[in-house]
């Protein structure tokens, strides 16, 4: 774990006077799996949208690989190496799994040359090898989520933002997804994960950032975070062993 791939300083976002994210600092170490958790409405999605450039910042700055990217439009951030796997997957239904991934590999970043190898790599990592020649429309929810991650990974990002990849999955599928994200990290892609499933988060993440009502309330290893009284308080009424599905 050499450097810091993504950092935020004083990140703030307000919508018409309502502050959704207030003065949040973070540092994502390279080659980590970093978690972002918080109760519903804490601002997790807003923070992701600020990083991909979907919303402009109100104040603060975001640096990617040392460069200030706060002013860049979404597609430039994408080209710089930030990819996002969406919670609601949007596959190309009539195309095969392999073709879906290939489109990610071919058009994502201009300098990717060996698209074919990238595709096979992404398929293997997501465990989609056997389904590669099936069309996307017949896939199960678990396979669709994997496809979403594989397609994003095929753009060869250095940072992959995964938005609740385990939501709605059964325990077996969740375990497979956790495994898949580990492999993504092992290929040198940093993963930043928003997840509701506490079991998944604590088992996979190296470090976790906790926000509540737009404020950072804790950051640390899974053990530190889980035992932090502020976190427990924030989650009161919402048990830690969250079974969202």
């Amino acid at each position: 774990m050499s450097g810091i791939i993504l950092s935020g300083r004083g990140v703030t976002k307000s919508f018409a006077g309502l502050t959704a994210i207030q003065n949040v600092d973070f540092e994502i170490p390279e080659n980590a799996i970093f978690g972002l958790i918080g109760p519903n409405g804490a601002g997790k999605s807003t923070l992701f949208n600020l990083i991909t450039g979907y919303y402009p910042l109100t104040a603060g700055e975001i640096r990617f690989k040392g460069e200030d990217i706060s002013g860049l439009p979404t597609y430039k951030r994408n080209q710089a190496g930030i990819a996002r796997a969406f919670q609601i997957s949007k596959p190309f239904p009539a195309l095969t799994v392999r073709e879906n991934v290939a489109i990610g590999a071919m058009f994502g970043r201009p300098e990717t040359h060996d698209a074919e190898a990238t595709v096979e790599d992404a398929l293997a990592i997501a465990g989609l090898g056997e389904l590669a020649d099936r069309t996307a429309e017949g896939l199960t929810m678990g396979a669709l989520r994997k496809l979403e991650v594989a397609r994003a990974f095929a753009t060869r990002p250095s940072l992959l933002l995964a938005d609740e990849p385990c939501a709605g999955l059964n325990p077996t599928e969740t375990a497979e997804m956790v495994n898949c994200l580990r492999k993504v990290r092992d290929r040198g892609t940093t993963v930043w994960l928003v997840e509701h499933d506490m079991k998944a988060v604590t088992s996979i993440c190296d470090r976790i950032l906790v926000i509540d009502a737009g404020n950072k309330i804790a950051e640390g290893t899974p053990q530190e975070v889980v035992s932090d009284p502020k976190v427990v308080a924030a989650y009161l009424g919402e048990p830690l062993e969250n079974t969202d599905n």
Partner: protein, 326 residues
Amino acid sequence: MKQGAALAAAAAVVIAALVLPMWIGPFYTRVLQLFFFSAALAVAWNILGGFSGYWSFGHTVFIGMGAFAAAHFVQQAGPFGSGPWAILVPVLFAGVLCGVFAAIIAYPILRLRGIYFAIAMLGVSQVVGELVNNVSWFQGGVGVFLPPPALDGMAPEDFFYYVFGGLLLLCVIIAMMVRKSRFGHALLSIREDEETAMMLGVATERYKIAAFVLSAMLVGVLGAVYAYSVGYFTTYTVFRLDFSLNMIVFCLIGGIGTLFGPIIGTAIMLFITQVLLSRFLDIHLLITGAMVVVIILLMPGGVIGALRAWRQSRATGKDREAEART
């Protein structure tokens, strides 16, 4: 291994096609010539309609434009060269002209989607057809004559059999190359979901236009050769709604958006109409319409789609069995 077998099969088909006219006589040579022409048109239409999902209801505009372009080129510039090769330059000119025309109308017309694009293309073909018919310089109303190439004793039906066969092969190779390439993947992503494609970095506008121009050029070339094969033609010989519709129907029946679907669909439909029911000309439309309805209701993916669905369901069945055993 699999590729080698496919290549060998393709070579066998080509060789068989080369020697076939010696055995089957002029009637079936003409039927096959029509098959090559129609299949090549369907393959060319499919590059735009099947791969990118932009169905054109007016592709006959490029047949007509190609035919008249070749005829006027010969009238103005005289024949280029002699012997069978004399058709080469006018035919190429026709293809280029169609490509240029397509490039000019591409930007506005490809902003339309779905049925609106389809009908707008129908409109374009009607407008161009009527202009060719009524502006006297084009001579569409009275008709134009394209001098047949000197064939040195070869029967014209044999000659056009080979030319159309070669063009079909060319169209198939081009379609294959497109399908495998980055370009082809871009078109498929446009067909499936144009917005998501853009988000993944596909320059949708550029690829759509390229597919449109490529498809138009191929159809233009085919139209010009068709004009040579009929010799004398008027507007209504080449600007024909049924040409436009057949391209769609043949692709639908074989499997739209697939590589060989258009060829299979053309073979099925021509076999039914030209061989089985060749004497019942007055019910061809009924049969074609019925085929379209039946295919859409029973196998919406066409013949190839049905085969694939069958294979996929068999594979899923096997998975289930395997799962049940463990």
